[in-house]
C-alpha cells in the first residue's frame, strides 16, 4: 500500500501530447478514478504508473520513491486489463500463482494464497480450469485475484468493467469496491463511464485532452464542476449565458436571459470574478416543472415542452425557455407532461453553479448550445 504521486508528468507521442503536466496525488488506500472520454490521457497515466510507458517529463513517485527508471517487474503493482489478459495456456491456479512464482513464494504457501484470493473474488474451487472455460465476469474476477494475490503497493484498473454486460457491470462495481475496501489497497481506476466513477470512487480526477480538469470527491465534482467540460461530462447539465451584476465574499448575483436575476452562494461561484460574463450550470434534475406557480425561494421561467423521453420512473424533458433550450429530468408519478405543454420551470439558485465562460482556446471543452 502506498501513495502515488505524479509531479508535472508529461507524455508525448511524436507530435501528440497525451498528458500535459499532470500533478495528481493518489492517497494511500484510496480509490481514485481517472475519468474522461477516450483519448483524454487517462490510460496513458495508468500505463506510465505501471511502467508500460515512460513519461517524457516529470516524475512518478510511489510511496515517496521516484520510480521513473524502475523496470516494470520491480514495481510491485497489480494491473487489471479491460480484456482480462489471462494466460490462456495456463490454468486459473497457475494464472493466479504466476506473480507469486516470480516472488519466490514456496508452492504450498502459493496454493493457500491462491485459494484465499479465489475466496475473496467469490470463485472458490476453479483452480484447475482454463480461462476459456469461464464466463467474462468470472474471468474478470480471476484477473482481479491475480492482481491482488501479490499484495501490490498499488492496484491499477484499466476499464476493467467495460467488457461486461450491463447487469454484471453494476454487480461487479459494488463488489470491486467492497474488495478494495476490505484489502485497503491504493487503487487507480480508469474509466470513461461517469456513473462507474461516481459510484465507486473516493476521489475523481476528470481529464480532457491530456489535462486534469478537476479533482475531488464525487459529489464535489458533480455538484460544483470546475469547468464547462466537467459540467457536461458528468450527468446532464444545462448551461445558460449569464452576467455577474454584483458580488461580494458571500454572494454572487447573476443576470440571465431565461431566469432574470438570481443570487448564488459564493462557494457555488468560487472561480468567478466580481463582474463580466459567466455561465450558469444547472443540473437537469434540478430543474423542476410544474403547472402551478413556482414555490418560494426559487427562480422560474415559462417554458414549453418540446419533446419527452419517457423512461418509466422518470422522464427527460426537452424544454424551450425563451430563446434557450434546456433539459430537465424528473421523477414522475402518474403521466408525464405531453409535448407542447406550457409549464413553469423553477430552480433553487443554491443548486446551481456559475463558471467563467470557456476560454477561446476551448480548453474547457465545447461551448455554446
Amino acid at each position: 500500500m502506498a501513495r502515488v504521486e505524479l509531479q508535472s508528468v508529461t507524455k508525448s507521442f511524436g507530435q501528440i501530447t497525451a498528458v500535459k503536466k499532470a500533478d495528481v496525488v493518489f492517497e494511500e488506500g484510496s480509490f481514485t478514478t481517472l475519468l474522461g472520454p477516450s483519448g483524454c490521457g487517462k490510460t496513458t497515466i495508468l500505463r506510465m504508473i505501471a511502467g508500460l510507458e515512460a513519461p517524457s517529463a516529470g516524475d512518478i513517485l510511489i510511496g515517496g520513491r521516484r520510480i521513473n527508471d524502475l523496470p516494470i517487474h520491480k514495481r510491485n503493482l497489480g494491473l487489471v486489463f479491460q480484456n482480462y489478459a489471462l494466460f490462456p495456456h495456463k490454468t486459473i491456479g497457475q494464472n493466479i500463482a504466476f506473480g507469486l512464482k516470480y516472488r519466490g513464494v514456496p508452492k504450498a504457501e502459493a496454493r493457500d494464497k491462491v485459494r484465499q484470493a479465489l475466496e475473496i473474488v467469490r470463485l472458490p474451487g476453479v483452480e484447475d480450469r482454463y480461462p476459456t472455460q469461464l464466463s467474462g465476469g468470472q474471468q474478470q474476477r480471476i484477473a482481479l485475484a491475480r492482481a491482488i494475490v501479490i499484495e501490490p503497493d498499488v492496484l491499477l484498473l484499466d476499464e476493467p468493467l467495460s467488457a461486461l454486460d450491463a447487469n454484471l457491470r453494476e454487480e461487479m462495481r459494488v463488489e470491486l469496491k467492497s474488495i478494495q475496501h476490505r484489502i485497503g489497497v491504493t487503487s487507480i481506476f480508469v474509466t470513461h463511464d461517469q456513473s462507474e466513477a461516481l459510484a465507486m470512487s473516493d476521489r475523481i480526477v476528470v481529464m480532457s485532452a491530456g489535462e486534469v480538469q478537476q479533482e475531488g470527491a464525487p459529489e464535489e465534482v458533480y455538484n460544483t464542476p470546475a469547468t464547462e467540460f466537467v459540467a457536461r461530462f458528468l450527468g446532464a447539465a444545462n448551461l445558460f449565458d449569464a452576467r455577474v451584476t454584483a458580488a461580494d465574499d458571500r454572494l454572487v448575483e447573476l443576470e440571465t436571459a431565461a431566469f432574470g436575476r438570481l443570487t448564488l452562494p459564493r462557494d457555488r461561484a468560487a472561480r468567478l470574478g466580481d463582474a463580466g460574463p459567466a455561465r450558469l450550470v444547472v443540473r437537469a434534475e434540478k430543474l423542476a416543472l410544474s403547472e402551478a406557480a413556482a414555490p418560494p425561494g426559487t427562480v422560474s421561467a415559462a417554458a414549453t415542452v418540446a419533446a419527452v423521453d419517457y423512461q418509466g420512473q422518470l422522464a427527460r424533458y426537452f424544454l424551450q425557455i425563451g430563446d434557450s433550450q434546456a433539459q430537465a429530468i424528473q421523477m414522475i408519478d402518474g403521466r408525464p407532461y405531453p409535448e407542447g405543454a406550457e409549464v413553469t420551470v423553477s430552480l433553487r439558485p443554491e443548486d446551481c453553479t456559475a463558471l467563467p465562460p470557456a476560454s477561446p482556446d476551448g480548453e474547457s471543452g465545447p461551448t455554446g448550445r
Binding site: H73, F81, N83, A85, F87
Partner: protein, 289 residues
Amino acid sequence: MAQAREQDLRPWYLLSPALAAIALLVVVPMSFILVYSFYENIDLGLDRPAFQFGNWHELLTDSYYHVAIWKTLRLSVIVTVLAALMGYVPAYFIAFTRFHHKWLLLLLLIIPFWISFIIRTLSWIHIMGNEGVINALLLWLGVIDQPLHMMYNEFAVVVGFIHVFLPYMILNVYVSLEGIDRNLEPAARTLGCTPWQAFLEVTLPLSLPGLAAGCLLVFVLTAGSYVTPLILGGPDDFLFGNLIYDAVMSELNWPMGATLSFTLLVLLGLVVVVYSRFMRLNQLTKAFG
C-alpha cells in the same frame, strides 16, 4: 424415420463435390501408381503388366534405398531446425513491430514466390560459386587467394532449401504470434517477469502451434524435393526424391519409380498424421486460410 435418415445424408451431399474431386484427382492417380508398382520392367521404358513384388523386394533389400531414406530424414531435420531458428526472429519482428506498413514486410516475404524457385535456386551459383559474388569479394579483399568451394555440397543444398522454404516458416510463426493478445506480455511483466521471462512464459508457448505447423511444412517440403540437391548438391547429396527422378527420367523404369513414389508418399503421410496428432495442428488450417 425416413426424414431422420434424409437429414443424416445431408452433410454427404454437401461434401460430395469435394469428395469427388479428391477421388478423381488424388485417389485414382495414386491407385494407378500403386498398380504400376507391381508391373515388371523389362527394358528401358518397356513395362509388362503383372502382379509381382520384385520392385518392392528391391526396395526392402537394397541398402542404397535405405541410405537415401536416412539421408532424406537427416537433411530434412537439419533444414527444419535451422529454418525454425532463423524464421522465428523475423516472424517475431513482423508481428510485434510498431512499423505502420506491416503489409510491406509481409509482401517482401511473398515477393520471392513470384520467381520460379528453380531460378531462385540457380541464383546461388552466382553467389557461392567459384566465380560468384562471395569469392570475388574475398579475393578482391585479399582474404583468400584461392576460391572457396562452397557449391555442390551439402552446405549448398541446406542453404538452397532454407532460402526457398524459410518464408513458409516465417508466415506460420507470424500468424501464430499475431493471434496473441498484446496485453499478455505486459501482464506477465507487471507480475514480476523480466522481458525475457515474459517471452518464455507467454509468447513462446502460445506461438508453438505456428512453429509446429511451420516445421511440419518445411520438413515435408524438404523431404519431398529433388530439384535443390540436383542443382546445388554434389554426387552424394541426393534425397529420396532424386531416386524417383533417376528411376523415371534416366532409367525409364516406371514401375520402380512408382514403387519409390508410393513409398515416399506413405512415409511423409505417416509423418504428417503422427505429427498432427501429437501437436494438435489446427493451426495448419489457420495458416493456409
